[in-house]
């Protein structure tokens, strides 16, 4: 078998049709991860009763599990009970209201929540405790201090790491091919099923992921520069 670059274009065209699936599988988990991970980080920061202890045990544990196991286990846990119900009540065929993409999104979101809660925790820890004390001394409540003083500073720290997490999610989303979701990787593969040009198809998929990741990296750099501008002012004046 030789290598023919023109087949890369063929695969590229097919794979690009599934770009939205890959984006769905990485953007929604990113947002879910921020929405769910931040409260977890706040609970741990303020050592809230029960929640912080539970998170303190659960998060480091769950962080050890590779993404592919999240996908495989959650796929099983979501599909099998539905299957059993369907059998028990003699519903026609297996339940198809659960699209594989939704399972993928749930699994990726679970993984993202664990990862991003750690990101947000280190971001919160990057703000010195003196900031809280200063807030309390001028009469702000804890929620106000968090929202108005600490979070804006923590966010400047978190954005580059979040972008890294996002890149990880984009790359990680290729793993959902183990539960047969048609994303960029599987789309490229589907074209290779016809012409047996597997190498070209994988290269085509790689190119798409590469462009996506470089764009996020670039955006991260721009965003970081924008968020840092106040900090730069402070240091020059101080």
């Amino acid at each position: 078998m030789t290598f023919d670059a023109s087949y890369i274009l063929v695969s590229l065209k097919v794979a690009l049709r599934y770009l939205h699936v890959t984006l769905l599988l990485s953007v929604i988990p990113l947002l879910a991860g921020i929405a769910l991970g931040t409260p977890i980080a706040v609970c741990r920061k303020f050592r809230m009763r029960f929640t912080s202890q539970a998170a303190g045990v659960l998060i480091p544990t769950l962080r050890g599990i590779p993404l592919v196991l999240y996908v495989l286990i959650l796929n099983f846990l979501i599909l099998k009970p539905l299957d059993m119900l369907a059998q028990h009540y003699a519903w026609a065929d297996r339940l198809r209201m659960m699209n594989s993409i939704h399972i993928g999104i749930v699994a990726m979101s679970a993984y993202a929540t664990v990862t991003i809660s750690e990101t947000m925790r280190s971001a919160l820890n990057s703000v010195p405790d003196g900031q809280y004390e200063a807030c309390f001394s001028v009469g702000l409540t804890r929620g106000q201090a968090l929202r108005r003083i600490v979070m804006p500073q923590a966010l400047a720290f978190a954005v580059p790491v979040l972008c890294n997490n996002f890149i990880g999610l984009i790359k990680g989303s290729s793993i959902v091919y183990v539960i047969a979701i048609l994303d960029v990787l599987n789309g490229a593969m589907s074209s290779a099923q016809i012409n047996y040009r597997f190498l070209e198809a994988y290269i085509a998929a790689a190119l798409i992921y590469w462009v996506l990741c470089i764009s996020v990296e670039r955006a991260s750099w721009l965003l970081e520069r924008r968020l840092r501008r106040h900090r730069a002012e402070l240091t020059t004046r101080g």
Binding site: M1, F3, L69, K80, K171, I175, W210, L212
Partner: protein, 228 residues
């Protein structure tokens, strides 16, 4: 189809699944050691700005960091035989494990190169200049002054990367490697109990990740000055 999940089966499958732990550990160790060695080469190319090679290294590192490891693995799997057949080497009968080892080492090389490069770049130029001014040669300055300082910066990132490499190995089963996850799936096909196998594998990864993290944190405290 019986129960959804039977905790007893997790322990029943454990011996069979953990018997494949050597495969996972082999991939991790080869990829980390090979990746670090290659990473030093790549970092040197970038730090000394070797013409042409520097551009190639930037390209390579960006590609590896910007694409999923699973795709890299398949590209190596399909491209390496074609490349080597040009020089009349036939590797079609190679064990698939070799392809996995090569692709993971190549993958880690890019990450390690960035860790090493940024660590060495973080040592102020003044340190090298000071070393030169007291009569150390270029290599002596690197070995005695710059690298020890760079090591302190690189060590935590290195630890994180090793844990990452461990988790990445979970994808080797997609190429048909019979590692722990592959074994869990094989058991699942035979017995219709796949979840228990996955849970056993997950337990291994949890334990191994925690152990590595703690180990690196401990080693960091012992090795690095002023690290609390």
């Amino acid at each position: 189809m019986g129960k959804l999940f039977d905790i007893a089966l997790v322990f029943e499958y454990m011996p069979a699944i953990f018997s494949r732990v050597s495969v996972t550990l082999l991939i991790v160790s080869v990829s980390v050691v090979g990746g670090t060695l290659l990473g030093f080469l790549l970092a040197a190319v970038r730090l000394y700005r070797m013409p042409l090679l520097n551009g190639a290294a930037v390209f390579y590192i960006s590609f590896v960091r910007g694409t999923p490891v699973i795709i890299q693995m398949f590209i190596v799997y399909y491209a390496l035989p074609i490349l080597l057949s040009q020089v009349d080497i036939n590797i079609n009968r190679w064990n698939k494990l070799y392809f996995v080892l090569i692709s993971y080492a190549l993958n880690n090389a890019a990450f390690m190169a960035e860790i090493i490069r940024s660590a060495i770049a973080s040592v102020p130029v003044g340190q090298t200049e000071a070393a030169h001014s007291v009569g150390l040669s270029g290599f002596q300055a690197l070995r005695r002054i710059v690298l020890p300082q760079a090591f302190c910066t690189a060590f935590p990132a290195f630890g994180t990367r090793v844990v990452g490499a461990l988790q990445d190995t979970s994808l080797a089963f997609t190429l048909g490697i019979l590692d722990m996850l592959g074994q869990a799936q094989a058991i699942g096909v035979r017995t219709y109990h796949v979840l228990e196998g996955y849970v056993a594998v997950a337990l291994f990864f949890i334990a191994a990740s925690l152990l590595l993290e703690k180990g690196f944190a401990w080693a960091g405290k012992k090795l690095l000055p002023n690290a609390g």
